[in-house]
Amino acid sequence: MTPPDNNHESEILQRCVAGDMGAYESLVATYRDRAYYYALSMLHNHHDALDSCQEAFAKAFRALDSFDCNRRFLPWFMRILHNHCASVISRRRRRFEVSETEVPVDVFRATPDPSPGQGDTIEREGRSAAVHAALALLPGEHRQVLVLRHFDELTYAEIAETLGIPQGTVMSRLYNARKKLAALMKAAG
């Protein structure tokens, strides 16, 4: 789902702050795919990722009173989600839990129909699968910056705020992540 423009999002957020659950449902529908993919890239488990996303959306709703509706929702929400996923990982470590990597094959919708002139469906699906497989092989911190930059389209400042790291580190991680991704995709042919 395409994110609303800033003015429209600001209006939706104001309705959410006023307690309009319908408005919040539409906001959740807009960002749930991004949230799930980011959580999955951190937790590698469908149930944990789904649970974390839903919990992060619930936390965000409760914290909306303190949110400036003129700011973008996504970077603020991604920070909540990132912190929640980080706490899940930390709890797993402390409890010596080994969470099985478990992602049902049909969790994502099939690749949308190609636009005219963009090659056939099989080729696109193959390319998409190769890129996502290469992404899955990257270290977590590299995968996170790539997802935030290329899928969520956050700026360097927003990524830095989400991950709680300096902008210089964001650029350095992005550089190294793309370098590794290019090498993995080259190796895979």
């Binding site: 991004r34 996303c53 839903q54 919708r109 290329h150 290019a182």
Partner: protein, 143 residues
């Protein structure tokens, strides 16, 4: 690759470089073919990512997603009401019992003792839990 070169390549790939930075990168790339190769490899990786785009959840999970969020919001609100109501009712009951002159003094004394006991037990458990959270390094091990 030096940090400045990495930074310029990164900004150029993301379209965040100023014209001055692009000139600087171009000059570097002209003097070192390795930098140009790296720039092109990074641009190709970025194009690959943008062309595949964000995967979307399947229709079944997407349809049920909001229910999960809503039930969490509702459940938390429900607990808040229950706790607030319990505190108000308990406090008011204690006040009524302790200030009612028609009740026997012994009953009021027993009632007060019961609530002081409950308060002591709760504070004791809370203190124990807190001490455990601070000092027990095996607290998260499921026993």
């Amino acid at each position: 690759m030096r940090p400045r070169e990495q930074e310029l390549i990164c900004k150029a790939v993301d379209g965040a470089a100023t014209p001055r930075e692009l000139e600087e990168l171009e000059a570097m790339a002209n003097s070192d073919p390795g930098i140009r190769q790296e720039l092109e490899a990074q641009q190709a990786a970025a194009v690959s990512l943008q062309s595949v785009g964000q995967p979307e959840l399947n229709d079944v999970i997407a349809a049920q997603f909001w229910n999960g969020v809503y039930s969490r919001i509702e459940c938390r609100a429900g607990w808040a009401f229950v706790i607030a109501g319990f505190l108000v009712v308990t406090g008011y009951t204690i006040y009524l019992v302790l200030t009612d002159p028609q009740l026997a003094a012994l009953f009021r004394f027993g009632f007060a003792c019961m609530f002081v006991g409950i308060a002591l037990l709760i504070s004791s458990v809370a203190r124990h839990r807190r001490r455990q959270a601070v000092h027990d390094k095996y607290k998260e091990v499921v026993r």
